[in-house]
Amino acid sequence: MTASQAVPDPVVGQAQLPAGGAQAEDVATGAAASARAGRGRHAGPVAVQPSGAELRAAAAGRLRRFLAVLRAHPLATVGGLVIVAVALFCYTGPALYHTDQVHVFLSQMNLSPRAGHPLGTDSDGQDELGRLMKGGQLALLIGAASGGLAVLLGSMWGAVAGYAGGAVDAVMMRIVDAGVAIPAIILLLLLTSVYRPSATLLIVVIAGTSWLTTARLVRAEALTLRTREYVQAARVMGGGSLRAILRHIAPNAMGTIVVNATFQIANAILLLATLSWLGLGVQFPSVDWGDMLSAATQGIDNGYWWQIVSPGAAIVTIVVAFVLLGDGLRDGLAGDE
């Protein structure tokens, strides 16, 4: 992104700046986006309705490119593998390592790591390793679901705003500006203080505060895409706006969207941990990594380091893995011009 590219429209310039959470990385994504806008998948004969076989071939092509990017960027591969490993640990772990996560064991309180309790126990006497697995299931589920929902909502919002332009765009983007002005944590505090937290509510609420940055990114991309010849041609030939957005704008913005999704998931996991730590997460005996941290920091003066280190390390590991995957994908997709 050269300064002059970022500058002409202050609103676009703003859209390419990080505005929250994981979006610091998206600065370069914006650059990749504007560079990629020059290449359209539908730049060929637009009037021809692609057959099923062609669509499958295109999908296979995208998958191949995705795999090639992973090969060329070892750190992204490491990130991807770590994510798979953590998911396996959380979902298949409890089948191999049985623990009781419902009852309180007063005789086993606050044990340091030892045989039988490799990561020690918490203030309820529950095994930290088993708790880590159980908490991870919720963190991954809510993280992936709210990250995905945020990306879906933000992409549609941004694509419509950028494609429509004019007054519609102005109104839609002012709403985004307003949302960005309220810190996500404060908006979450507000929402969870009024509505009773449940897993579903947390997914909706976290997505509701994080789709804004995706909307800005995709809008910036849609702004350049809508002036492309193949989009113009589709409109001249009588194609509707919805069709133009779904068939031309959305697929060509896919690179940006996929990269953004990895950062959104990382961000959602961080937000969930934060909310739980603040006491506004899921209710006991449901547990996530933030709850474990919360219990640990309450007794921090006792120096029970294992209670903080285990969930802390788990959160850092999964978030860094998603960031590495996103960084690699971004560099790879930007580099194949």
Partner: protein
């Protein structure tokens, strides 16, 4: 410049109105919400728009409301807690800039070397570590274990003087918020400096025979600082968000801590008033950042909207 500033200013006012509508709407549309209970007798039957306009009218006149739970006005609560938050966020932001600018610049200049990779790893780690984990680890190793170098809790004495002079207790909160913010700033500074490095004027300066040091300082650093001005304005909501956690962890009774407690006890007037102040600050920040950007870079203000 005047036209640009007034256009941007008008936008900011519109955005602020939408913010108040969102916040007020979220709080008062909730089923059986405490909003109607706290807004005064009869308010439950008051149409939403009337209730909203009444609240807005009072807020514009500087009356942020009254907290029946604490028996204090929101304004006095704000006056007591704001200075602590300002000291915490101000010091941390300045420190974060002092660290992040050279780190990002070094990474860009030495792109692809071991130094770049190590620093990148460290900044990703800063970014990926929740403020709570970072703070807790610092407390565990520097405050709990003997010889108790730093305090595990922020300064508790009332008044702003205590916050400024109590270096022992402020060190860990400031360190935590600084490191979290460095994670955001350094990654941004790196990509900004990489952009500057690829510009024609850098090439031109080298062709003229300017020394490498002069190229970096006079051309790359100077030009990559321009977007950092914008970043500073735009990351205000994030820094405040970080302050909520740091204040919560270190028990510092600043704005973030009060907001958290207000949310936990469903204290709507306090939640509304404090969120409004944070949003005003964030919108002003991004307005000032854009004006600063336009001032530093004439291409912005002469561009067609």
């Amino acid at each position: 410049m005047t036209a640009y500033v007034s256009r941007r200013g008008l936008q900011a006012v519109v955005v602020l109105l939408i913010v108040t509508l969102i916040v007020f709407g979220l709080l008062s549309l909730a089923p059986g919400s405490p909003a109607s209970a706290s807004l005064g007798p009869g308010s439950a039957h008051r149409p939403f728009l009337l209730a909203y306009l009444t609240w807005l009218n009072r807020a514009v006149q500087g009356n942020l409301g009254f907290s029946p739970r604490l028996n204090v006005s929101v304004a006095s609560l704000l006056a007591a807690s704001l200075p602590r938050t300002l000291v915490l966020t101000g010091v941390s932001t300045v420190l974060a800039l002092v660290i992040a600018i050279p780190v990002g610049l070094l990474q860009a200049v030495r792109r692809g070397t071991a130094a770049d990779h190590v620093l990148r790893g460290l900044t990703v780690l800063c970014y990926g570590t929740p403020a709570v984990v970072l703070g807790s680890v610092l407390v565990l190793f520097l405050a709990v274990d003997p010889p108790h170098v730093f305090g595990a809790e922020g300064p508790q004495a009332p008044g702003i003087a205590a916050v400024i002079t109590d270096v022992r207790d402020m060190t860990l909160p400031v360190c935590t918020l600084t490191l979290v913010t460095v994670g955001i700033f350094a990654r941004y500074m790196r990509s900004s400096a990489l952009d500057s490095l690829s510009q024609d004027y850098v090439e031109a300066a080298r062709a003229r025979g300017a020394g490498e040091q002069r190229v970096i300082v006079a051309h790359v650093l100077r030009n990559s600082l321009v977007p950092v001005v914008t970043l500073l304005g735009l990351s205000l909501p994030q820094i405040v968000g970080g302050a909520v956690l740091v204040e919560g962890l270190f028990n510092i009774k600043g704005m973030g801590w009060q907001l958290w407690q207000a949310a936990l006890r469903h204290d709507v007037p306090v939640t509304l008033g404090f969120t409004l102040i944070v949003a005003v600050a964030a919108i002003l920040g991004s307005l000032l950042a854009d004006i600063g950007y336009a001032f530093l870079d004439p291409r912005v203000r002469h561009a067609q909207p």
